[in-house]
């Protein structure tokens, strides 16, 4: 939906994911989105350089989230949300990863 604006379908997917899930880490994002790790890291780096996302270490994992201090966040979120609503149902499924707790040792 926003690819002509953002210049990258992967960047668009990453923004949807972070908007909906709150945060994500590169290997988890690669698994959820069915993409290779390197392009994800590359796009996250570009988004971070632009101040749109921030990252911090949680243990040994670098976790990314939308930057609450980004100057245009209040304008960006409604745009992302509206574009997301236009996605086909099948494409929306990848962003609906389980976020509720799950006790260790339980099988899926």
């Amino acid at each position: 939906m926003l690819e002509p604006l953002l210049g990258s379908p992967l960047k668009e997917q990453l923004l949807y994911f972070l908007m909906l899930q709150g945060e994500g880490y590169p290997s988890g994002l690669a698994r959820s989105l069915g993409r290779r790790l390197f392009p994800i890291q590359d796009q996250l780096r570009k988004l971070e350089d632009g101040g749109i996302v921030v990252s911090r270490l949680k243990g040994r994992t670098r976790v990314y989230s939308l930057n609450p201090r980004y100057a245009f966040l209040k304008e960006l979120l409604p745009l992302l949300l509206k574009a997301y609503e236009y996605l086909p149902k099948k494409e929306k499924e990848v962003f609906k990863e389980r976020t509720r707790p799950r006790k260790g040792g339980k099988t899926l």
Binding site: R69, A71, F72
Partner: protein, 169 residues
Amino acid sequence: MAHHLLNNGIEVVLTGGACVSIYSHNRYASLDLDFVTMTTVHPRLMVAVLARGGFRKEGRVFVHPECPFAVDILAPPLSIGAEPVRKTATLTVRRMKMKLLTPTDSVKDRLAAYYYWNDLQALEQALLICRHQLVHLASVRRWSDAEGHLDKFREFRKTFMSDPKTRKR
């Protein structure tokens, strides 16, 4: 650094912890220099310009063998949260001028980290500025309200008022 960038057509404003160091007369020591560029600069151009000043890129930051500070160049716009920074302060060192956040905006900059990430060190830094500089609390309050963090501003204000060292009008 700021002078070198300006001579190459790149205007920057100093933000972050380095402003706290300056405004607290080094009661807080920052080893990061966070500069925000006023216009978008292509990364390759920035690397080339800073290389002429002896800086090389190491990860996300620029380092110099004779400079203890790590320099980070941040993308525009110059803002604190959703609020654009309209007025900056100027520091003159050896006839070289450098733009930086005003004390009031520097307090907002630190409080933003406290508001969004509950960073208590940033809250202490905001108070440290208030001990050494006059800060427009009404402006901080209005900004906090716009950012949706009036509750946390009230906590900050309570500490500010009870601290005998903070400068009050």
